[in-house]
């Protein structure tokens, strides 16, 4: 059971990648060149999964504070993106730039060193378009799920570009699915 729980975040991220690639595949199934392109991507990604290193750090209670920063980053980004009408790129860039200077307040603090990554992860959730994320409640819930995913995937894909984005995608996709199923 414990072994399965350790592997769960890894499987979840693989599932997210797979659903993204499958959506690409299904949409353009009749174009041969596209089919070959995506098939090659899937094979190479599968090879790469075997080379991803794993770490064995324990989860601390402190880590769960990161969820708060994810939610904060998401809400601020969504506000700048939709209400102020700056667009997703400027909103996420501004939030990320400000967050990256937070550790300067106290360099010894471990908590403050976690702030940039988790806030930037939240910023990706806030980049959602208003067609998908209708309200702030959606963003709050999606970023909460993304925050939990971020904490549980602490030991995998460390230092990989796009890890935070995949986690944010997971939060948004799960929330959208839940709303689609139950509301």
């Amino acid at each position: 059971m414990k072994k399965f729980l350790k592997k769960l975040p890894f499987l979840l991220l693989i599932l997210l990648h797979a659903s993204f690639l499958l959506a690409m595949l299904v949409e353009k199934l009749n174009i041969t060149s596209n089919l070959i392109f995506i098939a090659a991507i899937i094979i190479l990604v599968l090879i790469a999964y075997t080379q991803v290193p794993r770490h064995e750090d324990k989860h601390l209670k402190q880590d769960f504070l990161a969820v708060g920063f994810v939610v904060l980053g998401a809400v601020v980004t969504f506000y700048l993106n939709v209400q102020v009408n700056l667009g997703p790129v400027i909103a996420a860039g501004a939030v990320g730039t400000i967050a990256s200077y937070v550790p300067w307040l106290n360099r010894q603090s471990k908590l403050l060193n976690e702030v940039p990554a988790s806030t930037y992860c939240g910023a990706f959730v806030g980049m959602s378009s208003p067609n998908i994320a209708g309200s702030f409640m959606f963003i709050l819930f999606a970023s909460f799920i993304a925050g939990l995913l971020l904490v549980f995937s602490k030991n995998i894909f460390r230092g990989f570009g796009g890890k935070l984005g995949t986690i944010a995608f997971g939060g948004v996709a799960v929330t959208y699915l839940l709303i689609f199923l139950f509301l």
Binding site: A48, A94, S100, Y120, F157, G159, G161, G162, T166, A173
Partner: protein, 147 residues
């Protein structure tokens, strides 16, 4: 033509972010966010700088590709690999499905996939990761040479 410009933008953004992140030691978040903010602001204040489809797409490709450059130097230590991933990011972005349009984090997912593809390419694998079979073979050859 537009596609070529976007692919070059992707490679350029990834390499710039990686340079800021690793060489200038600004950390991944600041490298990606500050560069994207600058590019986003330029295209926000000069909306007629380039023809329309490019104007809308370049900031998005730039921020997405800069996620590729957020990779740490312990995972990828080669500028060529980063540039290839950035270019691949643009290729996947151009062929992406409409199903996930507007989902936050879909750019990050593309970045992660394109990075994993270049890591999965066998001929770009790290040199110190020699397989066991190769080591045995080398031992045999060296022993024969001594005789």
């Amino acid at each position: 033509m537009d596609a070529i410009i976007l692919i070059i933008t992707g490679a350029f953004a990834a390499v710039c972010t990686y340079f800021l992140n690793v060489k200038l030691q600004q950390g991944p978040v600041r490298a990606s966010a500050a560069l994207s903010l600058a590019v986003g602001l330029v295209f926000h204040f000069f909306p007629n700088l380039l023809p329309q489809p490019l104007n809308a797409n370049i900031p998005i490709v730039f921020i997405g590709s800069s996620f590729v450059g957020m990779v740490s130097s312990s995972v990828v230590a080669n500028y060529f690999v980063v540039a290839a991933s950035g270019a691949l990011f643009s290729l996947i972005y151009l062929n992406t499905s409409n199903f996930f349009t507007g989902y936050g984090g879909s750019l990050g997912t593309i970045a992660c996939i394109s990075l994993l593809v270049t890591i999965g390419l066998p001929f770009l694998a790290k040199k110190n990761k020699i397989s066991n079979g190769y080591l045995v073979l080398r031992k045999l050859i060296f022993k024969k040479k001594k005789h």
